[in-house]
């Protein structure tokens, strides 16, 4: 008797739980849809009076490099507009554009400009967009703190080390004055925008070498560990990761033809740290931009990202450029 009751109880309980949950969720989804509807009708009829109270969802996805910026903007924006939901994903720049051009998300985070084939995909799907530059990132080439022979590297030398089919095995192969010790290389994986950028700026799109001497990781912290742990190691990643690990790493000044430049906030901002400083973007779907909450969020993003950029390890644009960007969405 007892056991029968017990079993029945469990069965009932699980059924009730499921029903209750389904009912609750059903109600809620209904509720959401309703608020969304009333939201749009409100805007059509009496938008000016209702402007202060925004709600709705703004889906963002894309580059993991831009993620900290969007996260910061969303967090601050939520303090003023608590009812607007801004979920942010990290599918990578390419993955973000795929969703963006399928109309699944409102904003795509991108650590490089949109590619031609992606732009075509968007066009075919009838999606028009606005590109906004939000901050700069400086790719930092780093070696171990124990490395005492490197004072700078030229773009050609970097190319020689990393390019596909490279025969460079020891530091001596790079420059005659360097010791004949084997180079240990670390690089972000091919899916990351960071790699894309390095490939374009340093390797002339020839692709990176892939042999025993090089290790790949999508996890920048793993790259930091790798470089700091090997005296003859070299690697590259976003400026933020160098800044956080200055005690373990030594940054290599890069000579792009105009003398060796060390990446700092100033050299990245004024563009003299060429070719390794890059702009970061967000792409906004123009149709979504008509929604008041999206417009408000994007405006907020551009007007406030400057100081936030420094906080999360990136470099703000000059003020007048933010003004230009803001003008694009008026």
């Amino acid at each position: 008797m007892l056991k029968k009751k017990g079993f029945k109880g469990i069965l009932m309980l699980s059924m009730v739980a499921m029903l209750a949950f389904a009912a609750a969720c059903g109600n809620n989804t209904g509720g959401n849809a309703e608020t969304e509807n009333t939201g749009t009708t409100n805007n059509a009829t009496n938008a000016p009076t209702e402007a202060a109270k925004l709600s709705g969802e703004i889906k963002v996805d894309g580059s993991s490099t831009v993620f900290p910026l969007t996260e910061a903007a969303a967090e601050e924006f939520n303090k003023e507009h608590a009812d607007v939901r801004v979920p942010v994903g990290v599918s990578g720049t390419g993955g973000g554009f795929k969703q963006f051009c399928a109309g699944e998300i409102a904003i795509a985070d991108a650590s490089r400009p949109i590619k031609d084939e992606e732009a075509t995909a968007c066009k075919d799907a009838g999606i028009e967009y606005t590109e906004l530059t939000v901050a700069f990132d400086g790719l930092s080439v780093v070696v171990s703190k124990d490395n005492d022979f490197i004072d700078h590297l030229t773009v050609e030398e970097l190319n020689k080390i990393f390019v596909t089919g490279s025969t460079v095995a020891t530091w001596k192969d790079v420059r005659d004055t360097f010791p004949a010790e084997p180079i240990v290389m670390f690089s972000p994986g091919a899916d990351s925008g960071t790699y894309d950028y390095f490939n374009e700026a340093i390797l002339d799109k020839a692709g990176i070498r892939n042999d025993k001497a090089i290790s790949f990781s999508e996890d920048d912290n793993a790259l930091v560990q790798g470089v700091s742990g090997s005296k003859y190691g070299i690697g590259y990643f976003g400026f933020a990761y160098f800044e956080e690990n200055q005690d373990k790493l030594k940054v290599v000044p890069v000579d792009g033809g105009a003398g060796a430049i060390t990446p700092t906030t100033e050299t990245i901002k004024d563009g003299s740290y060429a070719p390794l400083s890059r702009p970061l973007f967000i792409y906004v779907n123009n149709k979504e931009l008509e929604r008041p909450e999206v417009k408000e969020f994007v405006k907020y993003y551009i007007n406030n990202i400057g100081p936030l950029a420094g906080e999360v390890g990136y470099v703000a644009l000059p003020d007048e450029q933010y003004a230009t960007e803001a003008a694009k969405i008026q």
Partner: protein, 291 residues
């Protein structure tokens, strides 16, 4: 005689030595697992215990490590469990009852059986791809809580079916015969006689499958559980995040404080796992006494 005895003695000594050596080997084999778990727990505790404060559970994630919490991730994980548990219980146990009690033992049943065992070993990312194509795209559920929960249900179903089958098979045939002898129908026999005895085993299987699901990251990354979610899901079609994804997100941040946060997140996940496994044991003991 003497020689015979000596030969015997060395033989016995040799066997004893083999026994002793194997004994040591087995102890080492066992302790490797235990030591690995202990090392993990100690390491995680050292890193994460400081951040295990109430605000970890009450705050949403933030770009600043000090104000960051895992409220949305914890709630997301619990919601997902709440949706998954009943669905996978009904479908999993239903399939097990069919296969064990109703289905005729033939080629087709064997084929189904083989299928289920194979599915139980399929890598979880494959379920993620299936979930993305089926639930997210085809059924247009978007990257939502329900799509995630259904994908996870697919993932754990084979495990639940197999363990429920074992539990049902372990019920003595005499119980069924007694029930049939009293004129009970198949369903009455299954419901009143077989299932109550099999329930402890079934429940243990279900709970263990659930605890596998809460640690899974790959399928949810695939269907697009999001990384920064500063709200609680209120409906089945809302965006969500879960603990492992939050932990992964924290681990990939440059600041060392986030690594500590990730460690605290792992502690919470481990605690949740332990809690579930413990409740599985409790349930089993409770029902076993009644049988």
């Amino acid at each position: 005689m003497n020689i015979f005895q000596d030969a015997n003695r060395t033989q016995i000594a040799g066997r004893r030595r083999t026994d002793w050596l194997l004994h040591i080997l087995f102890v080492v084999a066992t302790s490797i697992g235990v030591i690995a778990l202990c090392a993990l727990i100690v390491d995680i505790l050292i890193d994460g215990i400081a951040r295990l404060q109430p605000d970890l559970f009450t705050n949403f994630p933030s770009r600043r490590a000090e104000g960051s919490g895992m409220k949305s991730a914890l709630v997301g994980t619990i919601y997902m469990l709440l949706i998954m548990a009943p669905i996978s219980f009904i479908f999993g146990v239903g399939a097990a009852i069919y296969l064990e009690e109703y289905a005729k033992k033939g080629k087709i049943t064997r084929l189904i059986q083989l299928n289920i065992s194979t599915l139980a070993g399929v890598p979880s990312i494959v379920y993620g791809i299936l979930g993305l194509a089926l639930f997210v795209r085809l059924l247009a559920l978007d990257r939502s809580l329900i799509a995630g929960a259904l994908t996870m249900t697919l993932l754990v179903l084979p495990i639940i079916i197999v363990s429920a089958q074992e539990a049902i098979r372990a019920v003595p045939k005499s119980r069924r015969d007694a029930s049939f002898a009293l004129g009970a129908t198949k369903w009455q026999t299954v419901y009143r006689s077989v299932l109550p005895s099999a329930l402890p085993g079934v429940l243990t299987g279900v709970i263990l499958a659930m605890s596998r699901a809460i640690g899974e990251t790959a399928p949810l990354v695939m269907i697009g559980a999001l990384t920064y979610v500063a709200f609680l899901p209120e409906g089945l079609k809302d965006s969500f995040t879960v603990i492992p994804i939050q932990v992964y997100n924290w681990l990939s941040k440059p600041k060392v404080e986030f690594q500590e946060l990730a460690a605290s997140g792992i502690i919470v996940l481990l605690a949740l796992l332990l809690l579930m496994n413990f409740s599985a044991i409790l349930l089993r003991n409770k029902y076993q006494k009644n049988v």
